[in-house]
Symmetry: C2
Subunit: 337 residues, 2 copies
């Protein structure tokens, strides 16, 4: 039933080699032979068997993406960009979801390693040694994480946090809280350190670190009461989901955003514009991150000898919406000052 190069060869009256060449190196074959072969191939609906091809060439024409959670809009957007770019390069895309389990990462990578030309590993949670090990299994690009000289794509977390804090300060906030993400998260470490370093440059502003929370809505709801108790008038969340959780938790306690509390998220996932109030957030070019990762990977595959690329600190841009407002001068339980 499936049509092979032999069939095309027979019908076109040439050898299999010629069929192969007509498809892969058209210039090596006489024009009229080429068109005849290609016509027959098209007519028969011939598609080369990728397994056979990959067996001999060593290349698969596939690349893969490993993320912690496909349902998380942050990774969903990256995945979208990844697939679109992969397709434009002619690559098919494998996907894997580690379910936030660091132990699953190396297993997924190993399973995929042999059938891809390279992998993108997104926000891996595992230790450095493990990541270095995976990089040995197959060409690897890290997103939101660095590890030795493994290729990377990262966003400018520091500048993002800076933009958010400068903006909150401009609104008059002088006590700003940070609701962190997972303790083991590389992004969280970066954001937290940016939070501290920006704060250190503004002695008139007090910082409050609320702690480490799950990177989901539940993390934010858990942090909400701590935020209220902290006395801060504004908060920066590890990401938008945590910010949503804060929003929800605050609402339950009757704390009105942005009147009583300003809230800033990070990532600007698509739903952030839909919430009410709209969430002010540090806009990350999510789809571009996916694209950039593919570009980096393709560059590696095409020239394996080149030094690892590092597309570091992709620019971010604060998107101001309804969750931030000037600090109220009167206490929260009174009317507007």
């Amino acid at each position: 039933m499936p049509v092979s190069a032999r069939d095309v060869a027979r019908v076109a009256g040439v050898s299999v080699s010629t069929v192969s060449r007509a498809l892969t190196r058209p210039d090596d074959v006489a024009p009229e032979t080429r068109t005849r072969v290609l016509d027959v191939a098209r007519g028969l609906g011939y598609l080369p068997n990728p397994a056979a091809r990959s067996l001999i060439t060593g290349r698969t024409g596939n690349i893969g993406l490993v993320v912690p959670d496909l349902e998380n809009p942050f990774f969903a957007s990256i995945t979208k960009g990844f697939h679109a770019r992969a397709r434009s390069f002619g690559y098919a895309a494998f996907i894997a979801d580690s379910d936030e389990d660091p132990a699953a990462e190396p297993e997924l990578v190993r399973n995929l390693a042999k059938q891809v030309d390279g992998l993108v590993l997104c926000s891996p949670r595992g230790p450095e040694e493990v990541i270095a090990g995976m990089a040995r299994d197959c060409p690897l690009v890290l997103v939101n994480r660095t590890c030795g000289d493994v290729a990377t794509v990262t966003v400018d977390d520091h500048d993002g946090v800076r933009q958010a804090m400068v903006y909150l300060q401009a609104l008059g906030h002088r006590r700003i809280a940070f609701a962190g993400g997972p303790r083991a998260s590389w992004s969280n470490a970066r954001r937290l350190s940016a939070f501290r370093s920006v704060g250190a440059q503004h002695p008139d502003t007090e910082l409050v670190e609320l702690g480490f929370f799950s990177p989901h809505v539940s993390g934010g709801t858990a942090a909400a009461d701590l935020l209220i108790a902290s006395g801060a008038t504004a908060a920066l969340a590890y990401n938008d989901l945590v910010a949503f959780g804060l929003l929800e938790g605050l609402r339950r306690r009757g704390v009105v955003v942005p009147r009583d509390m300003s809230l800033v998220g990070i990532d600007d996932i698509p739903m952030s514009g839909l919430a009410h109030p709209g969430l002010t957030s540090v806009g990350t070019p999510l789809v571009n991150v996916g694209r950039a990762a593919v570009d980096t990977l393709v560059a590696m595959v095409r020239d394996p000898t080149a030094p690892a690329l590092h597309q570091d600190d992709l620019p971010v841009q604060l998107v101001v919406r309804g969750s931030t407002a000037p600090r109220r001068t009167a206490p929260a339980h009174a009317g507007p000052g």
Copy 2:
């Protein structure tokens, strides 16, 4: 660098055949030989080359999923379920995003067909003939769509719409609008027909069809003014995203949900619980849909002769949140009745 069966054979002092058998049919090999081979294989970090294996067995160990939009939380959840189930069966997962372009569907399927044992095609928009054609390319399972005797997984749209409308009627609403999805959408056709048929059973309730809209938030915002003009006191949206758009559009016009208008979505995507007010929605078991699709596909692959499976009308359950309320007896601009 990569270790092949030959390497394992040499080290273990056996032939390649024995290595192969030790891995694929352990019972055919003497216990001590088997353990020796397996130990050596593990020690060398041997993993069989999937291309070589697939070349001869005809099976790839991969399955694929084609969706219209990975960023849409609806499909993201299905994708998550798909991947989890695939992995539990030992399959690796290809993913493809048609970007809502019906013409892309057959192309993506064709590109993937040779390297998967089967594909799941989610909410395809293309015409029947094209879908039937794809089903010829490789084992296919349709989600949210039927086509001849191609295997399918569908949810009980009719009952979902019925639950929503019965609930709205119980709240006193007697003029109910439907903001439809894309004209070519099979799901929309089903939901619309359910809307009509349920309405027909309740002569005291007037139905208003607002028209066809894009299945995104933008579709809902576009429909909002039509909804206001319709005189309806409650609306059912094609899906949650459209409902969000309605919510936003109504808010802009000062129409308060649920006080002035009750809103019900369909799908109950994860973010629906986070919105404010929380969106009442027909809960679809999204992750289960992904799982069910994989189960169906695996059954097909294991027994290609069996008749196509149809997991039709997976049960749905209305989830009531804050976007629905009893109909106000006084006009909207007055205080509560």
